[in-house]
């Protein structure tokens, strides 16, 4: 085959493979929305789930997912911020930093089921938390922390050194320069990272099955005292999230309409994650324009 034909053939094959990948994504999204949207109704979103009868909704699961997401971010963001600042601003290029970076890499590549089992062992059993939202949030923190740390580190490193020099030359302390100048400049990147990681936390299930639990007891949405047992804000109650619900309905449940529940829930999950993606783009761009006065 002469070089020109082989060039054309190769390009053709590549285009075909790319086309297949695009078709796969379109197929997945199309299928989920096509199968799920007919089951998404106001009733589905706002009624409690049923264990044995058809027609259950996903109200509690949806709320649990969001609540868990908020708790996870509250726990993981400060730690990730501190670690990110350390890695980008203070870390010297020595063996200690090398070990820390390896540790973060290991943490980010651990299978989420292993992280979940560890959470089960340490928090649910050892610390006697029982299956609880808090235990789930801590387990998700482990899962979330390396992603968030790396994102914050990258966003901070992307800020030009001129900014730091300018701060220091004004006589600001190192810490003031970081918090007052570098951090605001890195904010759009950090925000985008947080929202994207939120999407992953929202869809995570394997780490939650044995930490946040698979049951969702009846909760009272009028009770705003986080300490009372059936309050919706109580972090010590077991909570099944949307993703866990889909898994459970498909593998263990006896509900007759399991298929439509999981189709509807999958559609909700996908739509929320799509929204997160769009929000990340929009918020990042907007914040960037605002902070840099580009517009």
């Amino acid at each position: 085959m002469n070089p020109k034909t082989s060039n054309n053939v190769a390009t053709g094959i590549i285009m075909a493979l790319v086309g297949i990948v695009v078709l796969i994504l379109a197929g997945i999204l199309g299928y989920i929305l096509y199968a799920g949207i007919p089951h998404m109704s106001w009733h589905f979103l706002t009624s409690a789930s049923q264990s044995f009868k058809a027609g259950g909704g996903i109200r509690d699961q949806l709320f649990n997912s969001l609540y868990l997401l908020v708790l996870t971010l509250i726990i993981s963001f400060p730690i990730a911020l501190g670690s990110g600042i350390y890695l980008s601003e203070y870390a010297a290029d020595n063996w200690f930093t090398g070990i820390i970076r390896t540790a973060i890499e290991v943490l980010s590549s651990l299978p989420s089921v292993v992280v979940g089992l560890f959470g089960y062992l340490l928090f649910v059993i050892q610390f006697k938390m029982g299956f609880s939202i808090l235990a789930g949030a801590i387990a998700l923190t482990f899962f979330n922390l390396p992603l968030l740390t790396r994102n914050i580190e990258e966003s901070l490193s992307d800020v030009s050194d001129l900014q730091r020099e300018a701060g220091l030359s004004l006589g600001l302390s190192n810490w003031k320069t970081i918090t007052g100048i570098v951090l605001p400049a890195a904010l759009p990147g950090i925000l985008t990272g947080i929202i994207l990681s939120a999407g992953r936390v929202f869809g995570e299930a394997a780490a939650l099955i044995y930490t946040a639990g698979q049951s969702s007891p009846v909760v009272n949405y009028g009770d705003f005292n986080p300490m009372s047992a059936d309050s919706f804000l109580n972090p010590f109650r077991p909570a099944e999230t949307l993703a866990v619900h889909i898994w459970k309905v498909n593998t263990e449940a006896v509900t007759p309409d399991a298929l439509s529940i999981s189709a509807g829930s999958s559609a909700v999950l996908i739509i929320v994650i799509l929204l997160f993606n769009l929000l990340a783009r929009w918020a990042g761009k907007r914040l960037y324009n605002k902070m840099t006065a580009t517009k």
Partner: protein, 307 residues
């Protein structure tokens, strides 16, 4: 005099702030280190309890094919042969990586060499969306589309390694693709210019120069994809059939390490042999995840030396 001296030598507010800030960031990073150490410690101690506390044989664990931790075999030894799970895990992982790599490379080449601007703008969101879809949703699609399709075409129940491979293929595709894009982008422009100046076609340049130069990065990408496939639990558990027996073919029900763990650990009591045996499976997972990390590091080092 002393008063002035004291005032001058006392640390200023800014210095104290600085120390404070530095301390916070050190505490955070120490916490991350501590987390990793505690995960390794807890899983390891649980995982080796099967062999230290219950005195099961580690060779049996790795080579026998009977998985029935609650029972004793004819010689009075617990039946904890984990080989079927290990074999299945490796099969789905390797098959998924084999299928996904050509697609991932094609998308990466398209985004970097063929249509850098238009292609990236269009394909970047596609890749991001594929990453964003939760694994249970992949599992659900696998259960409702892939499994029936396989049952229809190939017969059997449809559950098995083939269904697991199909689901994992889509899940590792974005991981491999985005890392391949990064490593191909890192190949200096003058490599391409030099090759094109010699009269090579775009494909010759891509195949003989760019891909060769990016090989370490591409291998790393494949390993990362395999690590993800190896550790994936729920999507696989939903389509693999969950039978802890030696897989006889691509379409017979099987069970991976992760699927066995997620479906069984809730049915056992902490501290008993069946439970410890499951923790040993978790230990194998952890160990493999570390091995993947080491391989990536090794490839990275080799790649660096060549430059």
């Amino acid at each position: 005099m002393d008063e002035i001296k004291e005032k001058l030598t006392r640390s200023s507010k800014a210095t104290r702030q600085d120390y404070f800030g530095k301390a916070i960031s050190y505490v955070c990073i120490a916490l991350v280190g501590l987390l990793v150490i505690s995960i390794l410690y807890f899983i390891a101690t649980r995982g080796i309890a099967t062999f230290t506390v219950n005195h099961a044989s580690i060779t049996d664990f790795l080579t026998k094919t009977n998985w029935n931790p609650g029972m004793l075999d004819s010689k009075g030894k617990p039946e904890i042969g984990a080989l079927p799970m290990i074999v299945t895990s490796f099969s789905v992982t390797i098959l998924a990586a084999l299928v996904a790599t050509p697609f991932a490379l094609a998308v990466a080449i398209f985004m970097t060499e063929i249509a850098p601007q238009r292609g990236s703008r269009f394909l970047q969101p596609v890749i991001e969306l594929l990453v964003g879809i939760p694994s249970v949703v992949y599992g659900f699609i696998g259960l409702t589309v892939v499994v029936p399709a396989i049952r229809h075409v190939a017969g059997g129940t449809g559950f098995g390694i083939l269904a697991g491979t199909v689901v994992l293929f889509v899940m590792v595709l974005p991981t491999i693709t985005s890392l391949c894009v990064d490593s191909i982008k890192a190949v200096p422009l003058y490599f391409r210019s030099a090759s094109l100046a010699l009269g090579a076609t775009r494909w010759q340049t891509t195949y003989k120069v760019v891909l060769r130069a990016a090989t370490p990065g591409i291998l790393t990408a494949i390993i990362f994809g395999m690590a993800r496939a190896f550790g994936e639990a729920l999507a696989v558990q939903m389509v693999i059939g969950n039978a802890a027996i030696m897989p006889k073919g691509l379409i017979s029900p099987a069970s991976t390490l992760t699927s066995q763990l997620t479906s069984e650990i809730g049915n056992t009591t902490l501290g008993t042999l069946p439970n410890n045996a499951l923790w040993s499976l978790a230990l194998v997972l952890l160990f493999m995840s570390l091995v993947f990390n080491i391989i990536v590091r090794f490839i990275g080092k080799r790649g660096q030396m060549k430059k």
